[in-house]
Amino acid sequence: MPVDCNRMAGRRALKAVLIDLSGTLHVEDAAVPGAQDALNRLRQASVAVKFVTNTTKESKRILLERLQRLNFDLQEKEIFTSLSAARTLLEQKQHRPLLLVEDSAREDFTGIDTSEPNAVVIGLAPDQFNYQTLNKAFRMILDGAPLIAIHKARYYKRNDGLALGPGPFVSGLEYATDCKATVVGKPEKTFFIQALSDLGCCPSEAVMIGDDARDDVGGAQNAGMLGILVRTGKYREGDENKINPPPYLTCASFPEAVEHILKNLL
């Protein structure tokens, strides 16, 4: 049911919570302590819940399996990824992509024609970020192929430390070709609007919980939502001071964020 968000004045009661995955509900294969129970309490409060992620290495199915293994209660249709957003764009423009994405992410592009590619799609693909493949992508873009970035995250947290995200490689190619990439993932406004679109609510009726000050909280707030920054995952001391306006709330972890929502926003 379409909602006219422009007619809304001020902030209404909370109708939806968008939750980041990696770094917020879990870090690699370990759940954030207490997160499963917190999610259940949130569901009992009858707000719509959606899991939004810029993770580009994994298809929705893989994400779902990991979360279910960690005893989180969710369904595949509640997951919205930047890969979903990229696919939508490719279909709209009828591009045939050179997919610089991990094999595990290709599932989400099943059915898209990749022969004689005329567009470059960059996700998180360490195996593909070698000199030869980047040169190939570079030459395609010079010849006119659009550059689509699943997102431009600077880095992410792995078990063995921080690791480069796709952002640096997208920036490098933008510099090489003097072109601008189309970014489809967080913190783009359209990503958040798309994520809320089938929940029948406006950004002013939604809150985002995540560990990335710029991409999760900054992006959501820029789209008109409230943003809660959690101090888990890739969070580093002082991140809350790096965005303007600052987060609506900064708290220890997902369970504390849920407590705040249940006490103050419903």
Binding site: P126, Y131, F138, R154, Y155, L164, G167, P168, G172, Y175
Partner: protein, 272 residues
């Protein structure tokens, strides 16, 4: 377009700095090919009373290897006359007490032999070509992100260069990648950095207005030199394009067909 003040100002010059690739020779298969008249032109300059130095952004090979190649092409040049980013970087590192994590082509490593590379507190990247793997870039990134005061040196900032089998990404692309990842700005060592040109001038003991730069790259050679107060002349060899003579921001002090013509004009103005 009309030449500005060149070669009238030639009499007050005390030194000449030459770009190499595109001025002395063209790169290609093997050693490449000397540009017609350039070997003779260098000989004439050396026989004159002008000081002479050479300036390049080459970072895939050490100066020794590079100079040996030029010797095979007929040029009489010694390593001490050549300024490339790597030795300048070494000086900068030592002056500032910095210990580098290196991401450079294997052929360049020997330039850094005298530098303490333990417990790195900065990163130096050069044109590493196929060594620009995700893993190597990640290592460089981790050094930077772990430093309280991260410093990234980039040997040049080129976007791409031409090789026989197509265009290839240059060091500037990876510099931008690390800048974005770490939210910092790299320090560029090499053309067109003013510090690089200044190091050549210091070595020659000259003030900027006493020196002339001759190169094929309008922005990095000529523009870079002019920015430091030197005169800059462009040659119509190498990567020169006719549109360079209508460039929106850089106007060469003079444009000549090749190095041989530049040297003849220069020396005849000085009455030699």
């Amino acid at each position: 377009m009309a030449d500005r003040d060149w070669p009238g100002s030639a009499k007050s010059l005390k030194g000449v700095i030459l770009d190499m690739c595109g001025v002395l020779y063209d790169s290609g298969e093997g050693d490449g090919v000397a540009i017609r008249g350039s070997v003779e032109a260098v000989k004439k300059l050396k026989a004159s009373d002008l000081q002479l130095r050479f300036c390049t952004n080459e970072t895939q090979a050490s100066r020794e290897t590079f100079v040996a190649k030029l010797g095979r092409l007929g040029f009489d040049i010694s390593v001490s006359e050549v300024f490339s980013p790597a030795p300048t970087a070494v000086t900068v590192l030592k002056d500032r007490g910095l210990r580098p994590h290196l991401l450079v082509y294997d052929g360049l490593l020997s330039e850094f032999d005298s530098v303490d590379k333990t417990n790195p507190n900065c990163v130096v990247i050069g044109d590493a070509a196929e060594k620009f793997t995700y893993q190597n870039l990640n290592e460089a990134f981790r050094v930077l992100i772990g430093l309280e005061n991260p410093v990234l040196f980039s040997l040049g900032q080129g976007r791409y260069y031409k090789e026989t089998d197509g265009l290839k990404l240059d060091v500037g692309v990876y510099m931008k990648a690390l800048e974005y990842a770490c939210d910092l700005k790299a320090e560029v060592i090499g053309k067109p950095s003013p510090m690089f040109f200044q190091s050549v001038l210091t070595d020659m003991g000259l003030q900027p207005h006493e020196a002339l730069m001759i190169g094929d790259d309008l922005v990095n050679d000529v523009g870079g030199a002019q920015h430091c107060g030197m005169k800059g002349v462009q040659v119509r060899t190498g990567k020169y394009r006719p549109s360079d003579e209508r460039h929106p921001t850089v106007s060469a002090d003079g444009t000549v067909d090749n190095l041989a013509q530049a040297v003849d004009m220069l020396l005849s103005q000085r009455g030699l």
